[in-house]
Symmetry: C2
Subunit: 347 residues, 2 copies
Amino acid sequence: MNEFMKLLSLSKPVIQAPMAGGPATPPLAAAVSNYGGLGSLASGYLTPETLKRQIEETKQLTSAQFQVNLFVPEKREKVSRKKIEDWQNKIPLSQSAELETDEEQDWNDFYEKIDIVLNSGVKVCSFTFGVPPVDAVKELKKRDCCLIGTAVSVDEAVLLEEKGMDIIVVQGSEAGGHRGAFLHTKGEAAVGLIALIPQAADHVSVPVIAAGGIYDKRGVAASFALGAQGVQLGTAFLACMESGTSAVYKQKLIEAAETDTRLTRLFSGKPARGIVNQWMEDRRIDEDNALPYPLQNTLTKPMRKQAQLEGNPESMSLWCGQGVRAATKQTTVKELMDQLVPAGVIL
Amino acid sequence: MNEFMKLLSLSKPVIQAPMAGGPATPPLAAAVSNYGGLGSLASGYLTPETLKRQIEETKQLTSAQFQVNLFVPEKREKVSRKKIEDWQNKIPLSQSAELETDEEQDWNDFYEKIDIVLNSGVKVCSFTFGVPPVDAVKELKKRDCCLIGTAVSVDEAVLLEEKGMDIIVVQGSEAGGHRGAFLHTKGEAAVGLIALIPQAADHVSVPVIAAGGIYDKRGVAASFALGAQGVQLGTAFLACMESGTSAVYKQKLIEAAETDTRLTRLFSGKPARGIVNQWMEDRRIDEDNALPYPLQNTLTKPMRKQAQLEGNPESMSLWCGQGVRAATKQTTVKELMDQLVPAGVIL
């Protein structure tokens, strides 16, 4: 049992990626924790009240540890009225988008969620899109909360360790969904795991966890050979019965090939990897011109919501990593966990 | 010893990537072969006469096997006079570019090089940018020549096996230099090795070799864990004394971080990974508008040549993979090979 597994009392060195926006349900998080891994709730798009309810629900389903993931709020970019109107004309249903909260509201929500974590007894907290502020780190550490940062480069990993993170998830270019980047935010600089893991592991002393494109025991063994102490999987969990993935999304995952995804800013304003669909193709020409996060995300929300209701995969975000052949059929968390780390394997 | 090593009588499962345009010199190829790997000559930009001379020179330096790599000629895209003129105005020195040979000349050169391979006793021949034609495959096989194809996706790997390749190099998104793609030619579809190797290995029965971002024994072990039988390294060999890399290029490699590269079509018309420099930054806006290969390559040739002469890294192509910390200092092929597969390691 390595340092990472000891820190979190895991019997399998597997984190379920905190996939915001639906898939990371309490049943999924609880199932992963029950089978020896670390289940995750994704609070990024949740209200503090919903997060609180999800934590309670998860606690009903497992007595094992699970984590809560938070987005670190960022400085909002100024955008001209004209540019917003241009996009309102391009994005179906965007006129009905609710006006976004502001940066101050983001921080209020952030600290409210930190308080919920502190008061809930949750002992693992992870962060995406940045370094959490000093005061939050201090409070969480006082309660013996283990902190996990997300890095896409060596420099990000080093900074996260300096700022008190106990574990670093290094996210390779293969990963589905949003790049957790904060220093190297351009998608084009995305680094593949076979190159990123050893370079990161050589520059930090805390455990490094590999995320991106891993879908079976070969990816687990490779990650360990490269210097990681665990793996974080997203796409592979999307096809599990316990996930909140819609039927049409699951079907697209099952049909997809490894070359069918690309990084796009067209859904949220931040680069994220998903299966190429009509929305991405139609607006490909505007890729470099997308509004900054969270504005693009806000404006596409009604379109994505409608697509969910209609079961139309062509204008919803189909986040998916390059290890997509994980999802050849719907499976269960138990089957997946057993396949990732077969019984008797010594790590 | 695995099937790949047996096929090529190797004591180390390492191919030196056939880096066209200078670095893959006869001394480099011979050194790699002498230390138990497979050295490579890169005939892509060579005249048949120069290839012949390089083969002779390599034979003087090693009695071990080495390979010759060929570019598979492609159908040339039609381009408007206007677009060419636009680029002539943008590319320094392009007015002095020699007019490119045509497709027929490409094929004449290709077959002339095949004849040179057949008559030289070289017993390993690899291909980039496509599937070699049936008649060439037949002739090479008659002389017991082992054939290596280059794939960036599962579909490409499957097709190459169907067409008679004995070994498939799968090139991950991490790889420096040109993407060897022919079905999935868009750089944005580039797949990381941790996802690509197992998916490819599950779909072909010939040995799979991993290329891209590998720079030390951890990458070798990971590639094997993922299902590869060998590795192909480029960037790591660029920093070796025996390579034909210029001093200024070596210095850039030594200084680069893993996030400093990106895929660009601005040098040749085909996506290739290199260290971002002034030329790539200045013309970033034209990235999607580059001329097709080989036209862009022809027009940038005088600029690149002049940059080499002047030792100016800002307008030469600085091909480099994401495992760039391989090159922290100038090393030798022997040191690199020993570090990749330490004595006593059983593969």
